[in-house]
Amino acid sequence: MLKDITLGQFFPGNSLLHRLDPRTKILCSILLIVAVFLAKSALAYGVLILLTAALIIISQIPAGTVFKALKPLIVIIIITAFFNMFFTGGEEENVLADFRIWFLHPVIRVEGIVSAVKMALRIVLLILQTSVVLTYTTSPIDMTDGIERLLSPLAKIRVPVHTFAMMMSLALRFIPTLIEETDKIISAQKSRGADFSSGNVIRRVKALVPVLIPLLLSSFRRADDLALAMECRCYRGGTGRTRMKIMKMTAKDFLFILFCALFIAVRFLPMISSSALGITGMNFSF
């Protein structure tokens, strides 16, 4: 069950995205996030969907695996869409449904539905793009390196950049290990008669306590072991450390950054959505 979670995992490969400099990929992820948030019109969203599809194809990671990244976030997407549907203001003539429940008066307007779809799309695009461009194609050590070098100017004002980067990469390293362990503990508790799948929400949450406590304890033990092992392998922080892989930005890196920066221009694509839908007087302001 837990093995399906792939968010934040690296899939080794040799695609263009795998070969890009991690700094490029971090910068491009930021650029694409900005592009997604700036998008307003249906055309803009269309362009971004095409871009995301293209990125998935370039990454050479099976689409099924990529979409698995969405699984743990489905609930968040649904809740976001739901609230957007009811809490977006708009014109009276655009009311599609009108409910009266006790003193509540929820109203669904065209604007609400449009905004719900947009919000859901936004989250989906954000996750797919960042996972394909960054987390799936960049090994955590590369990512750490990338972040460390991008933020290295901050080290001059005594921000512990290396420490943060190391902590992050170790956290990522232990995700699969801890997932495996959680599965084991769940099986162990089930074999002792624990029941995780029946009863109401509160009961089920309570049933997880005997899973989380052993997991927490063993994490501390692991952290202890790991610190010792790192010390024995001569780790003493970022000072005097070299890297096996030297990072070098090449022409393809600069081109890719330029390419991603282009998509910020989606903001200025004409607002075709309203005219295509034939609705006049709609105002998509966020």
Binding site: R173, E180, R222, E231, R233, C234, G240, R243, M244
Partner: protein
């Protein structure tokens, strides 16, 4: 002076009333290039000894020298400590808790990176040790997908890349299946026979200890037996008294003999044991 010299070393855990001596007035010297097995039941002080030799723990009393350097010194400089850790590598029990990277070759590079080795040289060393450990084909794999024995070989490779002269295996086979154990024992053989590395193998597995040049049995923080495997294992009585796992058939025959049944208790083989009991039973019927 021998490669490792312990002179009257004592170490206790805890403070005040809870103070518990783990190693008591222990003196020991280990020559360069030898393969020593350290045996002992849980709490006999064998892991503490390993930690003392790596300067992870500092002795309360006594002195420890490694390769002529006094390491039982509170004021040991950081550079000396790093040099010690480079020289004396440790492989720990849990294969998961000592791997820091999500890609095998990056994990192997971790040690040399910490030592500030030049990138090209790190690359050369990584390729070389992966080949020695016979894991080149997994160089780009994630360690989480390897078997226990393979993970331990990655850990050994990570230490070998630092060019150590001594390696301590702290119960490195305890969590492995028989196949993994075999792999690790073959690895130890290779390190000792072909590369001339001083190996200290801490274990509670008798069969593994048989492969060493010298066996040291620790009991209650003191050296109880010390000699060649043959010398140590012929002390059946003493071994059993220290709670060490004597072979099952030997144990059974020994117990029967103590109960007054006249049997030969020098037998270690299961079939021979069965024959011995049959012979006795047949003799009794007549």
């Amino acid at each position: 002076m021998a490669f490792i010299e312990c002179k009257d070393v004592s170490f206790s855990y805890g403070e005040g009333e809870n103070r518990k001596a783990a190693v008591k007035h222990l003196s020991l010297s280990i020559e360069k290039g030898t393969f020593t097995a350290v045996l002992g039941h849980n709490g006999s002080g064998k892991s503490t000894l390993a930690k003392l030799l790596c300067s992870i723990l500092l002795p309360d009393e006594g002195e420890i020298f490694v390769d002529g350097m006094k390491i039982s010194d509170e004021n040991l400089s950081e550079d000396d400590l790093i040099e010690l850790h480079r020289k004396v590598g440790m492989v720990f029990q849990n294969p998961d808790n000592q791997l820091v990277a999500t890609v095998v070759e990056e994990d192997v590079a971790f040690g040399p990176e910490n030592l500030g080795v030049e990138p090209a040289e790190i690359r050369r060393r990584v390729d070389e040790v992966l080949k020695i450990m016979d894991i080149s084909e997994y160089a780009r794999h994630s360690p989480t997908r390897l078997s226990g024995g393979q993970k331990q070989r990655v850990a050994v490779a990570g230490i070998l890349a630092m060019r150590p002269s001594c390696m301590i295996f702290d119960e490195a086979t305890a969590m492995l299946d028989p196949q993994g154990r075999k792999e690790v024992m073959e690895t130890i053989g290779k390190l000792h026979d072909e590369m001339g590395i001083t190996v200290i193998h801490i274990t509670h597995n008798m069969e593994e200890a048989l492969e060493a040049d010298r066996v040291i049995v620790l009991n209650d923080g003191v050296i109880a037996l010390d000699g060649t495997p043959h010398e140590v294992f012929s002390e059946t009585e003493a071994m059993q008294r220290m709670g060490l796992d004597v072979q099952q058939p030997t144990k059974l025959l020994h117990e029967l003999r103590l109960a007054g049944v006249p049997l030969d208790d020098g037998i270690t083989d299961l079939d021979a044991c069965a024959r011995e009991i049959c012979r006795f039973c047949a003799g009794k019927k007549q």
